[in-house]
């Protein structure tokens, strides 16, 4: 155990340590068992020490099961207006105005909403949408942030100046304002999408792009700073001298060595995007009904704060729990990936 700790201290992102050099380091310390420990295993070992992150990982698995398998159990029943027995999302979108705004009961455990849809079923299918938006928006964020950051850092000069000025310009406007303006400008421009047997409101795609394109700035700055310090190191000069192409240097040598902050940003990007989606949808500019999302379930719930608190309580709680779990996981990852960060938890 001690040896693992020693080598973990050496896993320092400023000095590039690849799997091979790491095992060399470990073997120099003379323990056959630790030789096989790659950086990912080391990360996992450190991650396990962060108790809350482990609990959060468990919580996230529970949320995943609820969202992706819960529909099989809870979302089925007769849709009274059509008289048909429906399952899955059709049940979540079935509105029966004769039972609108009913408090939680055995038939509708989370109650019904303003037009008589089952809130439990909607939290399940809305959760799928909210989580997908979180993940895909984070992917957009990472792709844009990494590209801008690495290009600016690696090529430098006017390209760096230009990209960084644009990044700063984006940071001048508070991101919620940007989100609102972009969501309003692009809203309703994308037609309905049919995917995996589901018809999704086109607004889902719009929201993913909008959130992704308004949140990449901090990551771009981190990646740029890392690339700037890494590109002066000898192994990059050596690669250049060997005639390795710029793209290959960036993707094979520079980015793998900045993977730690990228992973942490991506994780926190997921929770940030879920929150952003909730904010825009809460303001009525996000995902459009009948497609449910945790955010748009809260839309107009202020009016029913007194008469129907179940309208906002359940989706709000799910947003909170999900974001909390992801934040804890991100925190654990930060500690695990960067042993030097002695953040006092």
């Amino acid at each position: 155990m001690k040896i693992v700790k020693k080598s973990s201290i050496r896993l320092n992102i400023e000095h590039p340590v690849t799997t091979t050099t790491l095992s060399q380091l470990a073997s120099r310390e003379g323990d056959a068992e630790t030789v096989t420990l790659g950086p990912w295993k080391l990360t996992w070992r450190r991650f396990r020490k962060h108790k809350m992150a482990l609990v959060a990982l468990g919580g996230m698995i529970v949320i995943f099961v609820y969202i992706f398998l819960g529909g099989l159990v809870f979302a089925r029943g007769v849709c009274t207006p059509t008289g048909q027995y429906v399952t899955a999302e059709a049940y979540a979108n079935c509105n029966d105005t004769s039972i609108k705004l009913q408090p939680p009961s055995s038939e509708h455990p989370f109650g019904t909403d303003t037009i008589g849809r089952d809130i439990l079923a909607r939290t399940i299918y809305g959760g799928q949408i909210s989580l997908s938006i979180g993940v895909f928006a984070a992917i957009v964020e990472v792709v844009v942030g990494v590209l801008v950051g690495s290009i600016a850092g690696y090529f430098g000069r006017w390209l760096d100046d230009l990209l960084m000025r644009i990044t700063e310009a984006m940071l001048i406007i508070p991101s919620l304002f940007l989100l609102i303006v972009l969501a309003k400008a692009l809203g309703g421009k994308v037609p309905e999408i049919h995917l995996l047997g589901r018809s999704l409101s086109g607004s889902v795609v719009v929201i993913i792009l909008v959130i992704g394109f308004t949140s990449w700035m901090y990551l771009a700055r981190i990646v740029r700073a890392n690339v700037l310090s890494l590109k002066e190191l000898d192994f990059i000069s050596a690669s250049r001298a060997l005639g390795v192409s710029d793209t290959r240097i960036i993707f094979k040598h520079l980015l793998p060595n900045t993977i730690a902050p990228i992973i942490v940003s991506a994780t926190l990007g997921v929770s940030g995007s879920i929150l952003s989606e909730a904010y825009v949808s809460f303001l009525g500019l996000g995902v459009q009904t009948p497609t449910a999302s945790w955010g748009n379930m809260l839309d107009s719930s202020v009016k029913y704060i007194q008469s129907a608190p179940w309208l906002w309580f359940f989706p709000g709680l799910l947003i909170l729990l999900t974001v909390l779990c992801i934040n804890f996981i991100g925190d654990g990852l930060r500690d695990a990936l960067d042993p030097r960060s002695t953040r006092h938890i």
Partner: protein, 343 residues
């Protein structure tokens, strides 16, 4: 120093121009402002055309942007649609401090914003004070009592607070402190508006109506910043000069307050300085929930109506505030920390 300020401002100008062009373009896709006039939308298409011409909406986007930026008082515009420009323009443009008129109410944008701004500032300044006081107290206390029950409790709570969407805090606090308290017969807090119209706009009423919005605005920041203060306090408390101070026999309160806190709050200044203009955005959600008549709510209302001169006005003023506060923060920081010199 003067050079630095000039250079920073010179850098900000192209950025502000760039962002204003992007935002202006985006707002063209907002939908027809004439159609969102509601009952006041002229039913005849000829009238709609005329209105569009009067508002300058018939012009190409780049002309509209140009007029927005530098005004049109030096050129004539075609008002009656006969193809001959005859009426002299009246607008001065943003560069000369004229943000144009609202498309909906025809009133000057500047007037609309300055009418709402004091309400938002009142909310923001109070929230910022609450944030500073609470995050410093909580942060310092948990650093001094590291790993105590209080510290662990606050750590847990701050993670929850940090993961909370503002609207959930707002809804929960509204539900608890006004609806439940009312049911239980306890004194309860008002939920919406700035004052009870029956009592009138008295300071007491406004203070009462401010409690819940300020709470919603500050919880997230207090959660984040108290962590920050705590970790920078812990870092400083571990340094040699603190040990020296203790070794000299200084009282612990003096060590914490004079020696540690002063140094630990330095980075905090940056955080707060950069945060102030961004509270404007947080106020968008809070103000719309609590029906607080501020600029954030104005922004949401006018977004729905595609009233882009007002939106551009709010956005550009926020942007300018951000630039100025960034600069002020840098300057303040260099004064507070003699190790940092602005060149």
């Amino acid at each position: 120093m003067v050079n630095y300020i000039i250079r920073r401002l010179a850098q900000a100008i192209p950025q502000l121009l760039l962002i204003s062009i992007i935002l202006f373009m985006l707002m063209q896709a907002f939908g027809d402002p004439i159609a969102s006039l509601g009952v006041r939308t002229p039913p005849r298409s000829a009238d709609r055309e005329r209105l569009r011409r009067q508002l300058g909406l018939d012009q190409p986007v780049y002309v509209q942007y140009f007029v927005w930026l530098v005004g049109n008082d030096w050129m004539k515009i075609d008002m009656d649609g006969d193809g001959v420009a005859e009426t002299p323009g009246k607008r001065l443009g943003v560069l000369r401090g004229d943000f144009g008129n609202s498309l909906i109410s025809k009133r000057p944008v500047l007037e609309l914003i300055t009418e709402r701004l004091p309400n938002t500032l009142l909310l923001m300044v109070t929230a910022e004070l609450v944030i500073i006081i609470f995050s410093l107290t909580i942060g310092v206390y948990s650093a001094v009592k590291q790993y105590s029950f209080f510290d662990n409790l606050v750590t847990g709570l701050s993670f929850v607070g940090y993961s909370m969407p503002i609207f959930l805090i707002a809804l929960l606090s509204m539900y608890l402190f006004s609806i439940n308290f009312k049911e239980w017969g306890l004194p309860y807090l008002p939920t919406v508006g700035m004052f009870d119209p029956e009592v009138g706009r008295t300071p007491g009423q406004i203070a009462l109506h401010m409690i819940l919005p300020v709470l919603s605005l500050s919880v997230i920041s207090v959660a984040g910043y108290s962590r920050y203060v705590r970790s920078s306090m812990l870092e400083i408390l571990g340094l040699d000069f603190i040990r020296t101070a203790r070794a000299k026999g200084l009282r612990e309160t003096l060590v914490v307050r004079r020696h540690a806190l002063r140094n630990a709050t330095l980075p905090f200044v940056t955080l707060i300085g950069l945060d102030i203009p961004f509270l404007l955005a947080g106020a968008v959600v809070t103000e719309s929930i609590f029906a607080w008549p501020g600029t954030g709510r104005l922004f949401i209302e006018r977004t729905a109506q595609s009233d882009f001169p007002v939106l551009m006005g709010i956005l550009m003023m926020t942007a300018i505030a951000v630039v100025i506060f960034q600069l002020l923060t840098d300057i303040a920081y260099s004064y507070l920390d003699p190790r940092i010199r602005i060149e």
